[in-house]
Point group: C2
Chain length 280, copies 2
């Protein structure tokens, strides 16, 4: 399997490099673009890496330009990677809704037409993109953390609980916390995974936490002024955390909404959380 | 004169509020939109304010979402205001070039048609918008600093040197430093101010610095990898600073380009620079 890539851009940032790279993905059958910030420390050897999964409608670019994460990754000597949220291209199935199709991969591998040929974001994020970045950049495969916002918080939590040996730290910003019980979830799972709801459970953080939990601590920030609280269902996840006695910090942040102003406010504490657990 | 405004949006950010407001401008004869971040301290009284002037093609939104300034303004208890860079609207003159017309007001008051009716960004920034914000928000009129990027760095430096009693601190990121000798300047001044070059001198930082200087210290950051060095002409301003013995810190930052990754890297130091000089 060829894991070549091309450099779209590289900008100096906080003493390191913010790059954007493009490659042909076997997983999605499309070109895929991702952002990768490397701190100065990467010049002298592999550094820990934080995966940042973005939310609905986002590309690799939103968090890269608006989250303000580079400052803190430079401070702690960590890399951060910003994948896209879905396959792109004219031959990729789409839907008029902003929350299905392009920009809305939901971090699952679709088993249903018309999504099946390209919508394989779970495999792309957990297997293919790691092969590419660990093979080509100074990143420490043994020091991976994962976080994300909204749909990306859902992706981060489900991946970390499914592959805790890979993701040694996990956090989330306003995650879609109980998608099997929400219009942000049921609609997409029905489309991508089909009518058999038993296949959905592997992609619901509240269910995963109830059944298996996570061997480390979990950090979750949620704004009390979030306009999507009814769809995110943080109360289900908070209840599950408490019921399982899962080591976790769940913070209801007064007045914050769902925007990147919220993410930006707390990104520093999240990066420090991961750095501490990844040995930085 | 009526100085009413409407709230477009308000988002909680770093314990304060990032607002976007719209108002009818007498100066430009159009609606104008600006961003204003208020730190938590503004709830108990007026706070110092930093004016951030943006560069070519920007609206109020670019720096507000990409510069990462709110973190540092919250840290120091300062407000920051992000004005637009030109009048907007269907009846406003424009040009196909990105560097003339909309998004390219160059912080002057146009005296020539077709620009004269609306392109009055100098008056808007230095007089009208201050009246509005000091009349409606908890901002300390006696504690104003000014900064900006590229065309906005040009605006910040020229305004500070012209009105040093108003702007008690000044800094710039990659300013257009000698516009009377650059294609970023000559073209726009000829269009907005006319063929008589004697009217241009009041809007050239290198000339202003040579003739009058600034009573305080000036901070300037410039990336050595900036793709627009030939147009910005930092060497002219650096020479003028040295020749006049102007108290200043001029930093050529190795490898940084003209992007917001550069601005974001150093915004913290600029905010702290202003806060120190504005008594925070």
């Amino acid at each position: 399997m060829s894991l070549t890539f091309e450099t779209v851009s590289e900008n100096r940032s906080f003493g390191g490099t913010q790059g954007v790279y493009k490659h042909r993905s076997q997983a999605t059958g499309t070109d895929m673009t991702f952002g990768l910030f490397l701190p100065a420390e990467a010049e002298s050897g592999p550094v820990p890496v934080l995966w940042y999964l973005s939310g609905l409608t986002c590309t690799h670019e939103n968090a890269m330009t608006k989250a303000g994460a580079q400052e803190w990754c430079a401070e702690t000597g960590m890399a951060i990677i910003f994948p896209d949220t879905s396959p792109r291209g004219d031959d990729v199935a789409d839907n008029d809704a902003f929350d299905l199709g392009k920009g809305a991969g939901f971090y699952v591998d679709a088993t249903q037409d018309p999504w099946k040929p390209h919508f394989r974001m779970w495999h792309y994020i957990t297997h293919e993109l790691p092969e590419l970045v660990f093979g080509n950049f100074a990143l420490d495969r043994e020091a991976q953390g994962i976080t994300g916002h909204s749909m990306g918080g859902h992706g981060a939590l489900t991946m970390a609980m499914t592959m805790p040996e890979t993701y040694r730290s996990v956090s989330a910003f306003a995650p879609i916390a109980n998608p099997t019980q929400s219009d942000w979830g049921r609609k997409q799972f029905a489309a991508y995974l089909g009518a058999d709801e038993s296949t959905w459970a592997a992609h619901d953080s509240t269910l995963l936490l109830t059944e298996r939990g996570y061997p480390g601590e979990i950090l979750i920030d949620q704004g009390s002024g979030d306009q999507f609280l009814d769809l995110l269902k943080p109360e289900a996840l908070a209840q599950a955390i408490a019921a399982r006695r899962q080591p976790a910090t769940f913070r209801m942040q007064p007045g914050y909404d769902h925007s990147y102003f919220f993410v930006q406010t707390f990104i520093g504490e999240h990066v420090l959380w991961h750095a501490e657990r990844l040995g930085r």
